[in-house]
């Protein structure tokens, strides 16, 4: 019987199991070692594997991520933790100009087994510099894979797959998911890392979401039953590539599409999803797709305002009803 564990524990378990068997894997980041990681993800690993495999770095995101690129080039599997997605802005040169480009520019001569983990999203009143979502920026970079696990099981699977991948993989972890619980069964065979997951089947409407919003969408779908709307909820799990087949197949059945994202609505991930599915499923649409996203405003510190800038369950319910007017 699979046990219920925290999301951070699932990540921790994935790293531990891999590091035990593959010495090419090492972790680096700010306070990942002695301190055990800001969200406990690397807890206990420093004691077990030592400082060379769990490296506390200076606050030098650009360079220690670049270090990861160099190590990956010579066959290592570095797992870089960037304390929050917001600090990844300092590492974008290493991620975008190096990790995503070098294998290509070398004519395919080098592996890039680099994994970059970064917590992000709107947590609890961390203000505008600590509440960002950068998926839109990273999605626009060919050469990167981006996974967005929403459950402990997916966190376990997708981090393992990321570390063992020869492509650079960005793991976007939502700060409010670390202390959510779920079952993790290590014996189950994982689906492909980019496979979207239907979290709830429904006939009338397709709701596509990812990361924390997938859970909210599922809650909204249960509330919609009382309104006579049977919604299908798809958790993307991966933002690059996106499992278009699963999405399109669902939209072709329900003819209605609602996209929920926490990121700002303008030029966000939802824009790509809406555009592509409109292209692919145009003749199947009964109503224009609807994107429910974060407001196009920096996140205010004030808690009430913060809540108003990102979708809540009630917003998803109301948006879904709009599609049946």
């Amino acid at each position: 019987m699979a046990d219920e564990i925290f999301y951070w524990q699932a990540l921790n378990r994935a790293l531990d199991e891999l590091m035990a068997v593959d010495e090419a894997i090492f972790i680096l980041g700010e306070d990942v070692g002695l301190y055990g990681g800001s969200y406990r993800v690397t807890e206990g690993l420093y004691a077990k594997y030592g400082e060379w495999r769990v490296r506390d770095t200076p606050i030098s995101e650009g360079s220690f991520t670049g270090l990861g690129v160099g190590a990956a080039l010579m066959g290592m599997r570095p797992v870089v933790e960037i304390m929050t997605v917001n600090f990844a802005l300092l590492a974008l040169d290493a991620i975008i100009n190096m990790a995503a480009k070098v294998p290509f520019m070398s004519g395919g001569a080098f592996p890039m087994g680099l994994t970059v983990r970064m917590p992000g999203g709107v947590a609890k009143q961390l203000a505008a510099q600590h509440s960002q979502r950068l998926e839109h920026t990273l999605m626009n970079v060919p050469g990167l894979r981006i996974v967005v696990p929403a459950t402990p099981q997916d966190a376990y699977w997708q981090l393992k797959q990321a570390v063992l991948s020869d492509e650079p993989v960005i793991v976007l972890e939502h700060e409010l998911l670390y202390f959510s619980k779920g079952q993790v069964d290590e014996t189950l065979p994982p689906p492909p890392p980019h496979r979207a997951l239907c979290r709830r089947q429904g006939r009338d409407l397709t709701i596509i979401a990812y990361s924390k919003m997938a859970a909210l969408a599922e809650q909204a779908a249960e509330k919609l039953v009382a309104q006579g709307i049977d919604a299908e909820v798809i958790d993307l799990r991966s933002l690059s590539p996106i499992d278009w087949h699963t999405c399109a197949e669902s939209v072709a059945r329900t003819h209605r599409l609602l996209i929920v994202e926490e990121d700002c609505r303008f030029a966000g991930a939802g824009a790509e999803i809406a555009a592509t599915l409109t292209e692919r499923c145009f003749t199947q649409l009964e109503v224009a797709p609807l994107r429910l996203g974060g407001l196009d405003i920096p996140t205010p510190y004030n808690g009430r305002l913060e809540a108003q800038t990102i979708p809540q369950v009630e917003d998803i319910v109301a948006a879904a009803k709009q599609l049946f007017n």
Partner: protein
């Protein structure tokens, strides 16, 4: 005066804390800044410091228990006497309301699930009590407004799916009527595809289009929907004289007696009362008979409930009320929906020798009663859903029914 100690908020993600242990016991003197307990947050083991000088007082929350943040877990009294005076209260009792000054600071503690929701939705300083929460989530939430800001602005037109269906089903778009919002959707196209082709009026005499009454429109829709039902008819000749006499004698309408005799017979043939559904046959446990009534607005069929199981007088009273409601157009759906058997009596038209009726959705059979001739004989025609009833089933039912009518067996 006692000051509450609450489960502290020790991190940005903490929702509950584990009270690991108390480092003081009731009556112990404590200094501001002194560590009085150990608390485990989601991130680490932390020390809980006293905010003021005083004496630890109960009731104290249990060690090794998980407690939502901001819940009162103990007290600081101003004197040792006060700290010890208080008889410990049962653990389960909700913590007393903190004094005014602190109650503003420490918002009332919602139930655990509510706390969860609250955290999702609103984590503001000076958090509002849950009662005023929903205000955040009106239809006018800024996020929703933004999402709806880019909806198609023009009404009218056809959705892509409707357009696709129009082509695939080869339907003339001119014949399509849009829905209430002016847009033609798949629903309208499919309705048009299933309905009979619209009459071609190009060479017709001059005409004027009038919207039918709501009732007539509904009848048209319902009747059109029955085209999917495979039907057959069967006619019997029956002497009505006895039943007629009984009606006169008991001052009841012949229609009501027909309904009664039918219901009693249906009870013996429960298949007649069943109906075909996609999941299987729905067998009904009582016989509800609908009786077609001609009104200026169109046809409507009020339903008499449990016609086989109740005294005739009671049915007669119900029927009077239903007819009255019909005349005053006060029928509710509960008055005319859900019948298992239908009866249509055209006995007031003596020249109509016989007719058949259409089985409405929701039933498997309808009985059409024509006028009696001079010898007292009339034609009874039953229309049946062939998915439920076979010819022989219907024939057996009609044999029994005819006999019951001829013998006027109303009970």
């Amino acid at each position: 005066m006692k000051h509450p100690i609450t489960m502290p908020v020790l991190s940005d993600t903490m929702e509950t804390g584990r009270l690991v242990r108390w480092l003081k016991k009731p009556g112990d003197s404590i200094k501001k800044g002194e560590v009085i307990a150990e608390v485990e947050s989601d991130k680490a083991l932390m020390e809980l410091e006293a905010f003021q000088d005083g004496f630890l007082a109960g009731p104290l929350a249990q060690e090794n228990s998980d407690i939502p943040v901001k819940t009162v877990i103990g007290w600081i009294a101003e004197s040792r006497e006060e700290a010890l005076a208080e008889a410990p209260q049962p653990e389960t009792k909700p913590a007393p309301e903190p004094s005014k000054a602190t109650s503003e600071a420490a918002a009332p503690v919602p139930a655990a699930e509510e706390a969860q929701l609250k955290v999702e939705s609103q984590t503001g300083p000076g958090a509002l009590p849950p009662a005023s929460q929903p205000a955040t989530f009106q239809a006018s939430s800024p996020v929703l407004q933004a999402a709806l800001s880019a909806r198609p602005t023009e009404s009218g037109g056809m959705t892509p799916l409707a357009r696709e269906l129009v082509q695939e089903l080869d339907i003339d778009p001119q014949t399509l009527a849009p829905g209430a919002d002016g847009v033609i959707r798949a629903r309208q196209v499919l309705a048009a595809a299933l309905s009979a082709p619209a009459p071609d009026l190009r060479y017709s005499a001059d005409y004027e289009i009038k919207r039918p009454s709501g009732l007539r429109e509904k009848i048209a829709e319902n009747m059109a929907a029955t085209t999917a039902t495979p039907m057959f008819q069967l006619t019997a000749r029956v002497h009505l004289t006895k039943l007629h006499d009984l009606a006169k004698q008991r001052e009841l309408s012949l229609t009501l007696l027909m309904a009664r005799v039918s219901a009693v017979t249906v009870q013996k043939h429960p298949l007649v009362n069943a109906v075909w559904t996609p999941k299987g046959l729905a067998w009904r446990k009582q016989v509800d008979v609908a009786i077609a009534v001609d009104t200026p607005d169109g046809l409507i069929s009020p339903v008499l409930r449990d016609v086989a199981g109740r005294p005739l007088e009671e049915l007669a009273e119900d029927w009077r009320i239903l007819k009255d409601k019909t005349q005053r157009r006060r029928l509710q759906p509960s008055d005319y929906e859900g019948a298992g058997f239908y009866l249509s009596n055209l006995g007031v038209f003596p020249r109509v020798l016989w007719f058949d009726a259409i089985v409405p959705l929701g039933a498997s059979a309808i009985l059409a009663v024509a006028a009696a001739d001079k010898a007292g004989r009339c034609a009874l025609t039953i229309s049946c859903d062939h998915r439920v009833l076979a010819g022989a089933d219907a024939a057996r039912f009609m044999e029994d029914l005819s006999e019951a009518i001829e013998k006027a067996q109303v009970d």
